[in-house]
């Protein structure tokens, strides 16, 4: 009715409790900007106020009921119309009737289960939001407010280093080692590359972090790989016997925890790709999956810890397992 210029209309404003004290986090939007939103964890309640402001004073707003919802949903971009809700909580704020003045409602979803982490990928988005709907006969007045959810993990029980010897016969033989297989998002990858045999003219070596996002399910399965980081770890050609240190700070990159089979809709996995480039621009590489996890934020580290972290070096702890597989492949990596 308002498109005709008359009839009552209203503005909905959702104010989450503790908006000025609660921590915020950023998330990528679909159009590649960053949104700064309030941050919630699994099991935390989501409460707040809904302010409804009438546009025209003194005229009543007729409605079929006002409700507030808390929704967690997965959107697959190839299937725009269909949203898969994995959380959906509803509370009625008002029975059908008329609103004659600006009204404020409180709401509180206590101990909400938020099983997954918010995520914006190339083909999929997982989001949580609070939605207020004023139902009317012709068109509802809807207001959504997104929040961000981080899922915290505990320290992994088992966290072996990744050690491997790979090579191309009579051409290149290297041994590499990363200190862990599971890294938290602010972690540092420390390791070394040991050159056992070098018969090619290497120009440089880099470590890349590749994110692989799989979404949908057969037959419409989408896979997307993205190089999140390219980090040069060696310049020039080493000779046999050289060992090159690796120290890569994950904090410098936009990473998410590894996600496996989220609601049977999508997965996000991370790989470390060790790439050697020779003088003819041929690339030799070896990918290793690493598990990323989110660690609970602690207080700011002390000066000394900060430095110790900034100077971590890898010292080999055990004899390297010799991997007979000859799987440095020759060709373009994607």
């Amino acid at each position: 009715m308002n498109f005709l210029g008359f009839g009552q209309s209203a503005e909905i404003d959702i104010q989450l409790d503790g908006a000025d004290t609660r921590k915020t986090a950023e998330i990528r939007t679909v159009d590649d900007r960053k949104d700064k939103l309030l941050l919630y964890y699994d099991g935390e309640g989501v409460s707040g106020k809904v302010n409804i402001t009438l546009k025209k004073a003194g005229q009543k707003l007729e409605h079929q009921g006002i409700k507030v919802e808390f929704i967690g949903q997965i959107e697959l971009f190839y299937d725009r119309g269909n949203h898969h809700e994995f959380v959906s909580l509803v509370k009625d704020l008002a029975r059908p009737g008329d609103l004659t003045e600006n009204t404020t409602f409180s709401f509180d979803f206590a101990q909400v289960e938020k099983p997954y982490e918010s995520y914006t990928g190339n083909n999929v988005k997982l989001r949580y939001f609070v939605r207020v709907v004023i139902s009317r006969r012709m068109s509802d007045i809807v207001r959504e407010q997104d929040i961000i959810v981080h899922s915290l993990s505990t320290y992994p029980d088992v966290n072996n280093s990744i050690k491997m010897e790979v090579g191309i016969e009579d051409c290149l033989h290297i041994e590499f080692e990363y200190n862990k297989s599971k890294y938290h998002l602010k972690d540092t990858i420390v390791g070394k590359i040991y050159f056992l045999l070098v018969r090619i003219k290497i120009k440089h070596m880099e470590l890349a972090i590749i994110k692989r996002e799989m979404s949908g399910s057969t037959p419409s399965l989408f896979q997307d790989s993205e190089t999140i980081a390219k980090f040069e770890i060696m310049d020039g050609a080493p000779v046999r016997g050289e060992s090159i240190p690796i120290r890569l700070f994950l904090a410098g990159y936009d990473l998410t925890p590894t996600m496996k089979d989220i609601n049977k809709k999508f997965s996000v996995r991370y790989f470390l790709n060790l790439v050697l480039v020779d003088e003819e621009e041929r690339r030799y590489f070896k990918q290793q999956e690493i598990i990323l996890w989110r660690k609970g934020e602690k207080l700011r580290k002390g000066q000394q810890a900060q430095m110790t972290n900034a100077m971590q070096q890898y010292t080999a702890t055990s004899v390297v397992r010799v991997d007979p597989v000859d799987d440095v492949s020759d060709g373009e990596d994607s």
Binding site: M234, D235, G236, E242, Q303, M307, A310, M311
Partner: protein, 781 residues
């Protein structure tokens, strides 16, 4: 190179731009942006297309800018703005070159501001730099590291507490941490430097080696840094420093690096360290690559230590270290380990060793002999025969042989070196001759007297090349060089002199036999000396006649020897010389009245006449010989009338028989002297008649001259002679005769054309008159 210039220009421009932006951000205290620009600036150092020289320029430009950044950061820290996360933040840079340069910059700021453990940061930096394996870029990165850490290397033995956190003493490190740091950096830099040799095309080898030489200073700076650590004493040097340096140097198996680094070690560390580590150092030398110039390395060390041992201000070389023995042993070990070492290097090393021996142990002549023996043995082992004179070996051997010559003022010392002459044999003619000449010069310059027959003999052997011709060398016998050389040889003979005369006699015999072989061009320089010495010797016998009953015999023997010697010269057709030497003999004889001397003297005189008559045909030579004969005969008093008469008559006869009139005239005047003051026994002849005969004949001959000038000149001379004889008591000469002659001359004088000669004649005449007037004031002239 144009393209290089352009590339460099582009890089420098980019550096300038980014540096400008960086500094603007610094001014606005926008640290993160400043770092970003610094990082972009550092991207220029990733280039692979600049030559080392140009890369160095670029590097210097970048360093200057980084210095600004560092100052700014230090200021920030001082103002209490602790940026502890910076060490991590700069490591986010995705390219390794900018990342590591920034990390070093920040790391040093942290150390300087005592922000964190110096020891750990140093260790971290030196390890992280391993990521750059490109030789050129790696060398410069590590050079930056070394440069920046220069003033923060801990140089204490016990750790000192931090100002800011006194409990944290363990973090500041000791000098040993500095040693580890520099040694690690050194090893890595050296590996990179060596690797340059093996990269790229083999056709670029020359260029590559040149470039490596340009870069060597970067590697050597590590050693300089080590040497500047003051807490390193001898023990720590032995234990913690040298082994690491040598290990890397030897194991890199690269000749260029090894040679440079070994020299570097010698240059940068103090001499007393070297003395204590000689064994280790020299042992390492024996393990170096074939291409290494061992002789330069070891030679440099020896030279340095030799100089060191000479210095006044140093304490003595510790007693337990015998420099020579150590070097001698270790050099032998090097030879054994490296049979491929070129002979010239072997000899050169021994030269250095000989110098060491002379400087450090000046009294130990046996050590020098040991060195000579070493070389001899090596030559024998390699069955070396004659060494070509232009070869490097020859040059080195020459040097070796000159060492004792230059050092020992006394050549006798050299003669006592048993292996000296052995080595001399290996030399080719030319260098051998050079040594000979050096030997002689040394004797002459130092006035060394050699008085022992054996020594004389060995010396003569040594100088033999000077009396020989050799097919390989053509000698110009009229050249100044040759004359100078043979004159020096002649001088030598004066120094071969024994105090006992019998021995001297033997020596002269030996010397004469030896130099007699010299050939026509040389004997004229050498044999006369022998003759004069012989005459002296005979006189010597005469002086001791009271003590030596056999002196008569001995004198006779000496003159017999002289006779033979001169006759030998005559065989070489050096007739004038022979005549002179015979005459000199007669003069000598005149002083030595031994039994048979008149016979001998007469024999000598007859020899002179027969040479004169038979062999001297040149008129100039004749006249000068006649003068000599007359002069000699006039002086001696060893003849009786029986022998004197034929001799003086012969003189007058010979004078009259000369070819040219002027010669005749002058010779006759001279002969007149003979008849007046010639002596039979001790009595002068004073034979007025014969004097007058001669003078008259001279006047007559003069009058026969066609040339007016010559004639008057002769007149003047004869008139002069008349005047003199009158004065000496020839009373047959009257004043009238004189006046008549003078009048005649005065009449004729004006007819002379004016010339130099006529002026001279006039002057002579005038002098004559003046002289006469003094005696006879009444003469009417």
């Amino acid at each position: 190179m144009d393209e290089q210039d352009k590339l460099l220009d582009d890089c420098l421009r980019a550096v300038k731009q980014e540096a400008f932006q960086m500094k603007r951000c610094i001014d606005k205290s926008r640290l993160m942006d400043a770092l970003k620009h610094a990082s972009s600036m550092l991207m220029e150092l990733r280039t692979g297309s600049l030559t080392p020289k140009n890369y160095y320029e670029l590097y210097m430009a970048v360093c200057a800018e980084l210095n600004q950044l560092q100052m700014f950061l230090l200021d920030e820290f001082q103002r209490g703005n602790k940026l502890s996360e910076l060490y991590e933040l700069v490591q986010y840079a995705s390219n390794i070159i900018p990342r590591l340069y920034l990390l070093v910059t920040i790391g040093v700021v942290f150390i300087k501001s005592h922000e964190s453990s110096r020891k750990d940061i140093m260790k971290d930096l030196v390890e992280m730099c391993r990521g750059v394996q490109h030789p050129l870029r790696g060398l410069f990165l590590r050079n930056y590291l070394l440069q920046e850490c220069k003033h923060v290397l801990p140089d204490v033995l016990v750790e000192v507490a931090n100002e800011s956190s006194p409990d944290d003493a363990s973090q500041n490190g000791t000098v040993l941490d500095s040693v580890d740091f520099v040694l690690t950096n050194f090893a890595e830099m050296n590996k990179l430097w060596v690797r340059m040799q093996h990269q790229g095309h083999s056709r670029d080898r020359v260029r590559r080696e040149r470039e490596r030489q340009e870069l060597r200073l970067l590697v050597g700076t590590n050693l300089v840094r080590l040497s500047q650590l003051e807490s390193i004493d001898i023990d720590r040097y032995i234990k913690n420093v040298l082994p690491g340096v040598l290990e890397q140097t030897v194991s890199c198996r690269d000749a260029i690096a090894q040679e440079y680094l070994m020299e570097c070690i010698i240059q940068v560390f103090p001499d007393d360290f070297h003395i204590e580590t000689l064994q280790t150092f020299l042992k390492a030398c024996s393990e170096l690559q074939t291409g290494v110039n061992i002789r330069r390395v070891v030679g440099a060390l020896i030279d340095r230590l030799a100089v060191y041992s000479q210095r006044q201000d140093t304490s003595e070389i510790p007693g337990h270290i015998h420099l020579f023995d150590i070097f001698n042993r270790q050099i032998a070990a090097i030879f054994a380990a490296k049979p491929e070492l070129p002979l010239e290097d072997v000899v050169a090393l021994e030269v250095a060793l000989a110098n060491l021996a002379l400087k450090c142990y000046p009294d130990r002549i046996d050590l020098v002999d040991q060195v000579l023996q070493n070389v001899d043995e090596v030559f024998q082992k390699q069955s070396v025969e004659e060494i070509p004179s232009d070869s490097a070996v020859s040059k080195e051997l020459l040097k070796l042989l000159k060492v004792p010559l230059d050092h020992y003022k006394d050549i006798l010392t050299v003669l006592r070196l048993q292996h000296y002459s052995n080595l001399l044999k290996y030399l080719n003619f030319k260098p051998k001759k050079e040594i000979s000449l050096n030997v002689i010069r040394s004797i002459v310059d130092n006035a060394t007297v050699i008085s022992n027959l054996e020594e004389v003999e060995s010396l003569l052997q040594m100088v033999k090349p000077l009396i020989e011709d050799h097919p390989s060398v053509t000698v110009d016998h009229t050249s100044d060089e040759f004359i100078e050389e043979q004159t020096t040889v002649g001088k030598l003979i004066h120094f071969l002199k024994a105090p006992e005369m019998d021995l001297q006699c033997q020596i002269l015999g030996t010397v004469r036999n030896f130099f007699g072989e010299g050939g026509i061009h040389r004997v004229s320089y050498t044999l006369p000396t022998i003759l004069f010495l012989s005459y002296d010797l005979a006189y010597g016998y005469f002086l001791v006649r009271e003590e030596d009953t056999k002196w008569n015999k001995k004198c006779q023997k000496v003159f017999q020897f002289c006779h033979q010697t001169i006759t030998a010269l005559a065989k070489l057709e050096l007739f004038e010389l022979c005549a002179r030497l015979f005459l000199q003999g007669v003069l000598a004889l005149s002083r030595i009245p031994f039994d048979t001397r008149e016979t001998v003297a007469y024999e000598f005189m007859t020899q002179v006449f027969s040479i004169y008559e038979d062999e001297i045909s040149d008129s100039k030579a004749q006249i000068s010989t006649i003068f000599l004969i007359i002069g000699t005969l006039q002086h001696v008093s060893c003849f009786s009338e029986e022998n004197h008469e034929p001799l003086r008559t012969q003189c007058a006869l010979a004078a009259a028989k000369l070819l040219k009139k002027p010669d005749q005239c002058r010779a006759l005047v001279a002969a007149a002297n003979l008849f007046w003051s010639g002596k039979v026994g001790e009595k002068e002849l004073k034979d007025t008649k014969r004097v007058m005969d001669c003078l008259k004949k001279a006047l007559r001959v003069a009058s026969q001259c066609m040339d007016n000038l010559v004639k008057i000149q002769l007149y003047v001379e004869v008139a002069d002679a008349y005047a003199v004889f009158q004065q000496r008591g020839v009373d047959a000469i009257t004043d009238e005769m004189l006046i008549q002659m003078l009048q005649k001359i005065q009449d004729e004088l004006p007819s002379l054309e004016v010339s130099d000669e006529s002026v001279h004649v006039n002057k002579h005449f005038q002098n004559c008159l003046d002289q006469l007037k003094k005696l006879k004031p009444d003469i009417p002239f």
